[in-house]
Structure formats: C-alpha cells, structure tokens
Symmetry: C2
Subunit: 213 residues, 2 copies
C-alpha cells in the first residue's frame, strides 16, 4: 500500500515554508519582499527563483499601501485573477481582468498587437495607483510600459511575471531597467506564470500563512 503522507494543512504549510527558508537565499531582500520571495518559491517549487528576482527598493511598501487604500488589482489573464485569494485583500479590492471583454479583438486588430496588449489599454482609467499583476503575456507588459511612456498614469506597483520564449525575458528586463521610476517586482528570464503573479499579490495582501493562521 501507499506510504503515509502529511494531511494536516498547518503542518504542510509549516514544513513547506521551513524548507524554503532553509534552502533559499533570502538575505538580500528587504522586509516584506522576503515574504514575496517565499510565496513565489512556494508557488513554483523552485528555490532558485529568489536569485533571479529584480525589484525596486520600495516595492513592498508601495504595493501594500495601494492595497490598503483600496487599489484595484489589474491582471493580464483569468488564471492570475483566479489565483488571488480574495479574503486576503485588505480593502475588498477589485480584481479586474479585461482580456475577454468584447471590444478586445477589434482593438488588437486596430493597434496591431496581441489581445493581451489591447486588453491593457482598457485598464487606463484605473491605472493610476493600481497594482498590476502580469503572469502570462510579454506583450501585455511591453504595452503597459509603452502606455506609461506615452503619458498614462503610473501604477503603484507592477508585478512582472510573463513567461516563455518570446519577449518574456526582454519585457522583464525593460521593466527592471526602470527608466520610468515605477515600483516593480519581476522574475528575470523565461520563467514566470500566473501562479507566481497571483502569489506575489497574495504575499502583498497577507504576508505568509505561517504568520497569519
């Protein structure tokens, strides 16, 4: 038969975060961002993502303050939205995904870009002071940065976790170079994904389960 396994959720969390803290290099993170790093690692099962995280110094405080002030969370795809634990959000913050709105395909055609990029244009009325979580499309991140360069309001924080082989590393490098002076957290390279983008939001919202449960 099967060997026994851990069934107690509190023990699972405790053992899991203990392993992450034992294996990951977390010393370089300012307070708050270490919690973001731990949750990111927990979401992907890879401790070395800590070594590839880029961030602005005030990223945690900026994101936390925005959430406390009721800022919306703007996500590039449904999976990111689905991974955000609503009860953690400190002000009943709205979680908004515009990707599947009816006007997106025509707008994508009109601007000669992807649907993910077109969907970002629909964020514009909400962008100032928002928390942006990008977990899928490099073009969403690229286009967001273009819009800011063209004068769109700055979000409070950009969580940059697009994934893949075309544009993911490049879009995150552009975010991390940060000529715009935006607060950000990003995972350099090809890795990323919606689970990491959601985990970053959850860490901003709630810190770590070991603290709060």
């Amino acid at each position: 038969g099967m060997r026994p396994y851990e069934r107690d959720p509190k023990a699972i969390y405790a053992q899991s975060f203990k392993t992450v803290r034992a294996e990951a290099r977390l010393d370089r993170f300012p307070r708050g961002l270490d919690q973001v790093a731990v949750r990111l690692i927990h979401a992907c099962g890879m401790v070395d993502v800590a070594d590839r995280l880029a961030f602005s110094d005030g990223a945690f405080e900026a994101g936390r303050a925005a959430l406390e002030a009721g800022a919306p969370v703007l996500c590039d795809c449904e999976m990111v939205g689905a991974g955000i634990i609503r009860r953690y959000l400190p002000a009943g913050n709205e979680v908004i995904v515009t990707l599947n709105r009816a006007e997106v395909p025509a707008r994508a055609q009109a601007i000669g870009n992807t649907r993910s990029a077109a969907a970002v244009e629909l964020w514009e009325p909400l962008l100032g002071g928002a928390v942006v979580a990008i977990g899928n499309a490099p073009t969403a991140l690229f286009h967001l940065l273009e819009l800011i360069d063209a004068g769109a309001p700055k979000p409070a924080l950009i969580l940059g976790f697009p994934v893949g082989f075309v544009g993911a590393a490049e879009s995150k490098a552009e975010l991390a170079a940060n000529p715009r002076g935006c607060d950000f957290v990003a995972l350099r390279g090809r890795r990323g994904g919606s689970a990491m983008a959601s985990a970053a939001v959850n860490a901003l919202a709630a810190g770590l389960p070991e603290v709060e449960t």
Copy 2:
C-alpha cells in the same frame, strides 16, 4: 526608448514553438505526448521539464478519447479550471472544480485531511472515465490514489502536476509507480502547477497552436 518587440500572435507562437523544439529533448515521446510536452514547456518557460515527465504509454490516446467521448475534466483548484481553453474541448466537456463547495470544510475535518483532498471525494460520481487535472495540492493526488485503491472508479487519465515542497514529488512518484494501472502524465519532482495542468488538458484537447490556427 524601448526596443521593438514582436506583436503578431502567430509569429510569437511560431517562434516560441520553434525555440522549444530546438532546445527540448522530445525524441522519447510517443506521438501526441510530444505535443503535451511542448505545451507544458511553453507554459513554464523551462525546456528541461521534458526530461522529468513520466507517462503511461497510452496516456495521450486515453485522454483524447475520453475528451471526445464527452468526459468531464476534474480539477483540484480554480486556477486549473481557469487555464483550460473551453473552445478547444471537443465535446463541450464540463470543467469541474469542487474545492470551494460548501460541504468541503466539514468533510475535510471529518476525514482528517486537507480541503483539497476532501474536494476529491466529491468527484466520485463522475470519476469513471474522467480526465483528472491536478495542478496544486499533493494531498488531492494522494487521496485520489487512495480512493482508487479503495475501489473508486478509475479515471481515463490522471494529469499529475502538484507543486511544492511537501508531498508533491512523493505523490507524483506514487502515481508514476502505477500499481493501479491508470493512464497518467506527471512531472517528477517539486515543480508543477496549475498552468502546467491546464496546458496538459489544452494539448489533449487541441494539439498545438501551430497546427490549428
């Protein structure tokens, strides 16, 4: 200003899948499972996951036939469900997530296991011939295997992608040892996640974007 970036979705997909095929070792996969491997890599940005995939020989055909016959897709969390592209599903298949049903917390208490494991018990009337996609909780996979050992109907295919530091590797090793004779695909080790579980379903349902668009 920013450097130019690829904005054409077809070019992005083509370039992306070309990179995956150039870098990943795909020779060992039977027809169909190579497409699953490519989509999994695409979802996580890591070509070496191909080397850690375990599978039964008939996994692709079993999953494909089940979807064509209208089998439901049973998911362990909302994110997996959110990542399944509904228009790809060949028979309007239902995508079912029981994790947040009202009776789950009490059942978890009663069985002394996690909510994720308790939610799996609610699959039982639908389990025979279903496609199961686990992208989060090791305890969901462990408990599914326990239920099958206790006589529950066998799914057509188990997609095993729980992630993390406690039980993920162990639950997938138990799946891959396969004393039950279930068709399966699993990523060995700590890595996994909802995006991979969804990607596996999408590959079964639709093959690759380069083929179908």
